[in-house]
Symmetry: C2
Amino acid sequence: MAEVSTKPYLIRAINEWCTDAGFTPYVAVAVDETVRVPGEFVANGEIVLNISALATSRLLIDNEAISFQARFGGVPREVYVPMGRVIAVYARENGQGMAFEVPRAMSAPAPVAVASAPAIVPPADSPAPPEPPRPPKPSVDRPKLTRIK
Amino acid sequence: MAEVSTKPYLIRAINEWCTDAGFTPYVAVAVDETVRVPGEFVANGEIVLNISALATSRLLIDNEAISFQARFGGVPREVYVPMGRVIAVYARENGQGMAFEVPRAMSAPAPVAVASAPAIVPPADSPAPPEPPRPPKPSVDRPKLTRIK
């Protein structure tokens, strides 16, 4: 049997938790040639995507990739992110979620851009990994955003 | 809206991953008076439970608790573990999974026992938290068992 990663299961879990808790699920992505996103919204080799039901259509998180359609600057675009390129999934509102170790591309294209489309998060406004915010007062029982190697 | 913990979502995720990957899901529990398990199988205030479909019936993992029926020494017993008492969920075969910070009871009853029922894991044979085993060769993309505070 081929080895199955826990990563897609954990990403689905955090996405479901965000939805149930009324939070907005964000996914941070290390962009390389296997990732299909609007290149003009990639900054420092990364892009942060809003995968909430309001911002996306046909969202699919299977064991291979996250894929959906979303509007960027009013234009519908197809997004495809292989599991291996997901850096983190977390709630916009409090930064809770999970982070993952991802090998970076040697020379990532890094056109800096600011976007206002619903499915994209401007890098300057977002709590971007690798320094995700911590919830202000973590209770003992509450899992925090933790980088998984 | 009452605060929703990520913990039950992550426990369900690891349980589903174990099942899909052909592994046996184990749950380590810090026993206190809110936990319903056969006391004779509790060791050092902890019990490790096999929650696989083969070992349990009527398994339910909701946002409040893990509950199921299982045979202990041939006798069917009801098990109820509130979310807050779950120390870890992981695959028996490689120790991959997640661990959680749990406050310990002040004076946990600790009758040492060895069990052979299918739903219970003898402490001496099991990779018991708080020192869960690490997978032998973690790849960069593979989440490891990580203690969540």
